[in-house]
C-alpha cells in the first residue's frame, strides 16, 4: 500500500518537475504521435524498471528517497483516541485446569465509522512461575471499521472471542494466571486492565486397593492388582505399581495412565512379576500416582502370599458309560490317573465338568484326593446328563488345584460318540408304560360316567 502511494507521488513529481540525476526516466509524447502538442504520458513499466534498477544499483539513494517520500500515519482532528478495552470473562474465576471457559475482548470505539481505523487485538497471559506475558493468539485479531454494533445512545461496541484459550489443560503448575488485552490502530496502542484467574488443582485419589486372585494363591495364578482412581478435576492419572519382596526391595514396577472414574488393573502374569522360585513367599506392594502436578503414594499393602507350589502328573482321562448305548439317564464312570511328582503327600481338589449344548460346562462332581508318588485313579461315577442332552455330543474336563506336568490345571476330552437320542427311559411293557395307559383309561372312564350321569339323563 505504502509502495503504491510512493509510486503515485513519484509519478506526480515526475509529471511536474524536470528530471535530473543519474536515472534517466523516459517520457513519451502523448497521443501516439509526435505531433500531439503539450500533453505528455508516462510509460509506467519503464518507471518501475528504473526504480528497480535504482534499488539494485544505488541502494543508499533509494533509501534516502524512501525517507523523503514517507508520510507519517495520520488521523483527523476529530479522531477520538479514548478506546474502552476490557477482558470479558463469565463464570467462577477459581477454576481447575480442565474446566472450559470463554475469554472475550470487549471494545467500545467512540469514533464514527467515517474516521474509525482498523484495530489489531492481542490477548496476553502471564502464567504461574513466568515473569513475562506471552501472546495467546499468535495472529492478532483484526477489527474492521464496520464490525461494531451501535447502541441507541451512540456507543459503538464489539466483542471478540479467543478460541486459542478455552482451558488451562496445558499448565504444568497451578496458581494465578493474569490475562490482558493489547490493541493498536497503527498510530495509538491501548492496554486493558488485568484479569486474574486462580487455577487450582485437586490431587487424584486411589481407593479400594486390593488383589484379586484365587486363594490360596499360586505364583502363576491370575493375580490382579486393582484400585479405583478418582480425580475431581478429571485429569488423567499416572499410576505406578511397585511390587516389593520380603525384604521390601522393589521386585518390579509398572505404570499405567488411567482416566479418573476407571479402575486400574495390573495383571501379575502379564508383567511377569512372579516365577516358580517365588512359591511360598509373601510379597507387598504400593502405588505412586500423580496427575502431572500432585504426586502421592499409598501405604505399603500386604499381598500376595504365594503358597508353596507342587507339580502333579495326570494321565488317561476316561469315561465309561453304564452301557454302550449311552442313554442320558444312565451313570457314567469318569476317571483320571494322578500322582504327585514331589516326594511328600499332598491334597488336591479335583472337579469334573461336562459340556453339552444344553448345559455348557456343568459341574458334575468334585472331590479332594491325597496324592503321593504312587499313581492313583480318581473316579467319578455320576449321572451328569438330562433329557435335554439326548442326541448331543459331549465333552468333559477335570480341573485340579495344582498344576500338572504341562503347567495346566485342567485336562479336557472330546467324546466322539453322542449321547443316545432315545428320550423315554422305560419300555411299553413296564410299570410306567402300562401305568400311563391305565391312568388315561381310568380318567376317560370316570369322565364318561360323569358326563353320562350329568348330561345324558
Amino acid at each position: 500500500m505504502r509502495r503504491l502511494v510512493l509510486i503515485l507521488i513519484l509519478i506526480l513529481i515526475l509529471n511536474t518537475l524536470p528530471v535530473h540525476g543519474d536515472i534517466d526516466i523516459p517520457i513519451e509524447a502523448g497521443g501516439g504521435s509526435s505531433s500531439g502538442g503539450g500533453h505528455r504520458q508516462i510509460d509506467f513499466d519503464r518507471i518501475f524498471q528504473a526504480l528497480q534498477e535504482g534499488k539494485a544499483q544505488k541502494p543508499q539513494k533509494f533509501e534516502e528517497m524512501k525517507k523523503l517520500l514517507y508520510i507519517e500515519p495520520f488521523t483527523t482532528k476529530e479522531y477520538d483516541k479514548t478506546l474502552a478495552l476490557s477482558v470479558d470473562f463469565k463464570g467462577n474465576k477459581t477454576l481447575n485446569r480442565n474446566q472450559k471457559f470463554e475469554v472475550n475482548a470487549y471494545l467500545e470505539n467512540p469514533n464514527p465509522i467515517e474516521i474509525r481505523r482498523a484495530l489489531y487485538l492481542e490477548l496476553d497471559s502471564l502464567e504461574p512461575g513466568e515473569k513475562t506475558f506471552r501472546q495467546v493468539n499468535t495472529v492478532p485479531q483484526i477489527i474492521q471499521v464496520n464490525e461494531y454494533t451501535e447502541t441507541k445512545d451512540g456507543r459503538n461496541y464489539t466483542y471478540r472471542a479467543f478460541p486459542e484459550l478455552t482451558s488451562f489443560s496445558n499448565l504444568k503448575t497451578v496458581g494465578p494466571v493474569i490475562l490482558r488485552l493489547n490493541a493498536t490502530d497503527g498510530q495509538y496502542t491501548w492496554t486493558s486492565g488485568n484479569l486474574t484467574l486462580n487455577v487450582i488443582n485437586n490431587p487424584p485419589m486411589l481407593s479400594n486397593l486390593s488383589i484379586e486372585a484365587t486363594k490360596p494363591t499360586r505364583y502363576n495364578d491370575p493375580i490382579d492388582y486393582v484400585a479405583n482412581v478418582t480425580d475431581k478435576d478429571g485429569d488423567a492419572v499416572n499410576v505406578t505399581l511397585h511390587v516389593l519382596d520380603e525384604q521390601e526391595k522393589e521386585r518390579g514396577k509398572e505404570s499405567q495412565i488411567v482416566l479418573p472414574g476407571n479402575g486400574v488393573s495390573f495383571l501379575a502374569n502379564q508383567y511377569g512379576f512372579f516365577s516358580k522360585e517365588d512359591s511360598g513367599k509373601n510379597f507387598t506392594y504400593y502405588y505412586t500416582f500423580g496427575d502431572g502436578i500432585n504426586v502421592s503414594n499409598t501405604t505399603i499393602q500386604d499381598g500376595p502370599r504365594l503358597r508353596k507350589s507342587i507339580s502333579i502328573w495326570v494321565d488317561n482321562p476316561w469315561v465309561t458309560p453304564e452301557e454302550e448305548n449311552q442313554y442320558w439317564w444312565q451313570s457314567y464312570n469318569f476317571s483320571i490317573n494322578m500322582k504327585n511328582q514331589d516326594p511328600e503327600e499332598t491334597k488336591v481338589l479335583v472337579t469334573l465338568f461336562t459340556d453339552t449344548k444344553a448345559h455348557p460346562w456343568k459341574t458334575a462332581a468334585s472331590q479332594e484326593v491325597m496324592l503321593s508318588q504312587e499313581t492313583k485313579s480318581v473316579y467319578f461315577n455320576v449321572k451328569p446328563f438330562d433329557v435335554l442332552d439326548a442326541n448331543q455330543s459331549f465333552r468333559f474336563k477335570f480341573t485340579y488345584s495344582e498344576y500338572d506336568q504341562h503347567q495346566k490345571d485342567f485336562t479336557e476330552v472330546d467324546q466322539d460318540k453322542p449321547i443316545n437320542a432315545k428320550l423315554v427311559k422305560y419300555e411299553t411293557v413296564s410299570i410306567p408304560g402300562v401305568g400311563n395307559v391305565l391312568v388315561i383309561l381310568l380318567v376317560a372312564l370316570v369322565l364318561s360316567i360323569f358326563v353320562e350321569r350329568r348330561f345324558y339323563r
Binding site: L388, A421, V424, T428, N436, V439, L441, L445, L447, V451
Partner: protein, 200 residues
C-alpha cells in the same frame, strides 16, 4: 403307510379320517331332514322341529351311552398319540418338543389327559346323536369292541414313543387300522340309520 403295495402318506390317511367324520355329520343332518320331510307329508298339523327332535328321542341305555362317550374320548387320545407323539409325522408339533415331560415317567398320561379335556367337549354332544337312531342289538353288542380297538391303537403309539428314535411302520399301520375300525363302529349307527331311511 404301505397299503396294497402303494405308499400312502400319513397325512392323507388323517384327511381320510376327518372326511369320514364330516361325512357322518352330513349323513346325520340329512337323516334328520328326511324324517322331518316325511313327517311333514303325513302330519295333519304344523309342528316345530324341536318338538320333532324330542319325539324322535330314543333312550339307548346308560351302558351304551357311557361306552360311546368313553369311545369318543379315547378316539381323540388315540388319534393324537398316533400323529403327535413322535416327530415322524409332524416334526415341529409333537410330544417330544417337551423333552422334560416326554422323559418323565408320567409323561404319556399327561399328554393323554391333556387331549381328554378338549375331547370331553365333543363327548358332550356327539354321542347324543345316537338317541335319534334305532341301534340294532347286534351293533350294540359290538360297540364294546370300540374301546378295545382304541386301546390297541394307543398301545401301538406308546410303543412307538418308547422306542423313538427307532421306528416301526407296522405298529403305526396297526394303530391306524385300529383307529379306523373304531371310527367305523362309532359311526355305524348313523350310516345304518341313514341308509334305512334313504331306502324308504
Amino acid at each position: 403307510m404301505n397299503l396294497l403295495g402303494y405308499e400312502i402318506s400319513e397325512i392323507y390317511l388323517l384327511i381320510g379320517l376327518v372326511a369320514v367324520l364330516l361325512l357322518s355329520g352330513i349323513f346325520h343332518l340329512r337323516y334328520l331332514r328326511m324324517i322331518e320331510s316325511m313327517v311333514r307329508k303325513t302330519a295333519d298339523s304344523d309342528f316345530d322341529f324341536e318338538d320333532l327332535m324330542k319325539s324322535l328321542h330314543i333312550s339307548q341305555g346308560s351302558n351304551f351311552n357311557i361306552i360311546m362317550i368313553f369311545s369318543w374320548s379315547l378316539f381323540f387320545v388315540a388319534l393324537a398319540f398316533l400323529y403327535f407323539l413322535t416327530p415322524d409325522i409332524f416334526p415341529d408339533w409333537n410330544y417330544f418338543k417337551f423333552p422334560q415331560v416326554a422323559s418323565w415317567e408320567g409323561g404319556f398320561a399327561v399328554m393323554g389327559i391333556a387331549v381328554l379335556i378338549p375331547g370331553l367337549f365333543v363327548s358332550l354332544f356327539v354321542p347324543r346323536a345316537y338317541s335319534y337312531y334305532l341301534v340294532h342289538r347286534i351293533l350294540k353288542e359290538k360297540v364294546i369292541l370300540i374301546p378295545a380297538f382304541l386301546l390297541a391303537s394307543i398301545l401301538c403309539s406308546v410303543n412307538l414313543g418308547t422306542i423313538y428314535p427307532a421306528t416301526d411302520p407296522f405298529l403305526w399301520n396297526l394303530g391306524y387300522v385300529m383307529v379306523f375300525a373304531a371310527l367305523a363302529l362309532m359311526i355305524a349307527p348313523i350310516f345304518v340309520g341313514f341308509l334305512e331311511e334313504w331306502r324308504k
